[in-house]
Symmetry: none
Subunit: 413 residues, 2 copies
């Protein structure tokens, strides 16, 4: 029998449609991965009795209740009170929590307000969960054999706390033999991938397959199975690799950009970027990775023609003859940026992200990606669909993917 | 008294975290726009008793229940049955609906399967709602003075049906005069803001105030009120502006970056960026804005000392003496990048985003922001908390906010 969970997300902003409930999706996905069945997800406003009722019902129906939001210092942050009320427990200031919050404020040179003290209120019998990102600590309460977790609403705070506290506790409480394997693809449409491996991933007794689209990168296939089917999974995996291996950039949690950067770190190969339409998204994504300074030399955001000429020595004639969005221009951008920064690899990106600026010959969505590496410059012409944001992100991940393939072919060759 | 609604979204894919629940957000936003208060949003799996229970509870607590999903032809499409069960009503094939579905299939040359007949099942006393996009019709049921709407799950089908059927019916049932005003702040902690204006925004009859944190920018206050209180709102707004006006960057929907970029466009003032720890996030955020090429000249991502020296002419002596993360270095970065790109404004950002690299003197979270404008360079020292990602984004929005204040003071001066 799978253990059951109820997810409660609180906040007027959810019920007013101002915030998309990504926390619910994240928690659902994570709970499913460790074999817990989510039987209900409910969103309630910042209202004491509504939250309290949701908590009561959740505790009645399930083994685990995860509640997020309403831990801030303001009047409408009522989660602590509501949970205490639902469980019939007291709420009081916890010295350790108060000290923790006080220190955080001291570091930022802000005085502790009376309101903020509220964040140090601990429910009777609860354990407090440290928040490394924000000021609101979480709480964990065991109650009649069930466990309730209170987590802050901001995703950047909720996610690490879910990983650090919720997952280990739940794993220790259940003896799940469920496992998940994740296959991440790039450069292949979801429908084409499905068709290519449909017969091997579906209809296996005890193995559940699902496909999702991972941001602007590509499709992801998730196989959920009990551990005794490990051999079966090895067979399926071999078949996946043999049929669509060239698009498979990672087995597991690693994202495309991580895979590429880790390879560069391993090879000790340096890189520099020259970006037009992506405007710094590519370099910013590279800098996401801590410790990347060993291989990332820097970049130029050459949004204007002027800057392409002055900072990257792109020939004015080339720009005039072929335009800023052309194979010839990105070729020069890639070559020259690698030289300017003395980097082994230079990447140039130029395109038309829209919504305006497209022509019949060069429509919105046309993007050129140039990669200079080992005395050769390859240029890739791409046509992306979607709005300005989608086109720019697709260009970024496409650049990572082309670089991945170049590094891979070099390895093989 | 505002009318109340409950939203029920059905489907295993939501509870397994495979689908982000955008329908709930859409319905919430639409209902709020017409003055209906959403008191609960619940997601349940494809399970007869779970759906039925959610419907029963929804009808008890609210005036309108909107339920989406589970209208397809397959085994796990149970919404019709569950609603009939919850209301104690019969379910039977409706000739008109069957004909409608039959025609749709004929047009696509697909034979009508037995399963598909299921989609023609109408709940006793219900009105069927035409679906122009997909094969599943919706239903509307009036029950003890309340109204329940059943809509299909795919957003492309749900949205037009919501506009065409749900909005007019609800509008005719209520006489809404609700309005919303949004106040966006930056550079002030939520708790401090609350304390400063607590007495004026809360406890006003007929005015509801709520505070949320808007990403890495700052707190947002939302006042919901009936239109006859417009004068009262003007008074509150005046008081907000007088007390915390310097932190208030926008009244309405505009985000901090938009406010700043629109001001630059209006002034026809050009800008260039020099980024170290933010790695291109600032320039990428500027390029988010379509048509920004008029004022954005470009940027340099000078992640290495080498690039600070070679591309931005930062004096090697300055770097050696004060370090890459110092007031002196960002001052030069800001000045030199404005000169390099011939931009009116130059912004330099350098800091320690972590997780490693901090020292006692220069801890993780220390960020310097330099703004060069009209022959003066101002440098701001910031100490941010949070993880690498949070620190970098806080630095970006802080740069926008300092620039906003400089432009504002210039206007006043």
């Amino acid at each position: 029998m799978r253990k059951k969970a109820v997810i409660i997300t609180t906040g007027d902003e959810i019920l007013e449609g101002l915030t998309l409930n990504t926390n619910q999706q994240y928690i659902s996905m994570k709970l499913n991965e460790i074999g817990v069945e989510v039987i209900r997800a409910v969103s309630v406003p910042d209202d004491l009795s509504a939250i309290s009722r949701a908590v009561k019902e959740g505790m009645e129906d399930s083994d685990f209740v995860i509640i997020s939001g309403g831990l801030g210092p303001t009047e409408d942050d009522l989660t602590r009170e509501a949970v205490a009320k639902a469980l019939g427990r007291k709420l009081s200031i916890n010295g350790e929590m108060l000290e923790e919050i006080r220190n955080r404020f001291r570091r930022r040179n802000i005085e502790l307000s009376d309101n903020t003290r509220k964040q140090a209120m601990l429910i009777e019998g609860a354990k407090f969960l440290k928040n490394d990102v924000g000021s609101a600590p979480g709480q964990m309460i065991e109650y009649e054999g069930k466990v309730l977790f209170i987590l802050p609403g901001p995703p950047s705070e909720l996610k690490p706390m879910f990983e650090n506290f919720v997952v280990p506790v739940i794993r220790s409480k259940i003896k799940s033999d469920m496992n998940v394997k994740i296959y991440r693809f790039s450069g292949i449409p979801e429908a084409v991938l499905e068709e290519a491996i449909h017969d091997i991933i579906y209809n296996n007794e005890g193995i559940k397959a699902s496909t999702t689209l991972d941001g602007f990168i590509g499709p992801t296939i998730r196989l959920t199975y009990s551990r005794n089917l490990e051999e079966e999974i090895v067979k399926i995996e071999k078949e996946i690799v043999s049929r669509v291996g060239e698009y498979l950039y990672s087995i597991g949690d690693k994202r495309l950009d991580e895979v590429v950067i880790e390879e560069l770190l391993k090879l000790n190969t340096t890189i520099a970027t020259a970006e037009s339409c992506t405007g710094g998204l590519l370099s910013a994504k590279i800098v996401d990775y801590p410790g990347v300074s060993k291989i990332f030399k820097g970049g130029v955001v050459c949004y204007s023609n002027e800057s392409k000429i002055n900072l990257l020595d792109v020939d004015e004639e080339v720009l005039k003859k072929y335009g800023a969005v052309s194979s010839q221009t990105v070729e020069k951008m890639a070559e020259n940026v690698s030289r300017k920064f003395s980097a082994d690899i230079g990447i140039g990106v130029s395109g038309i992200a829209g919504p305006t600026g497209g022509t019949e010959e060069k429509p919105v969505g046309l993007v050129y990606i140039g990669i200079h590496f080992e005395n050769a410059t390859r240029v890739f012409e791409k046509r992306f669909s979607g709005d300005r944001n989608s086109i720019r992100w697709r260009a970024v991940y496409s650049a990572f993917d082309e670089l991945r393939k170049i590094l891979l072919s070099r390895k093989k060759g």
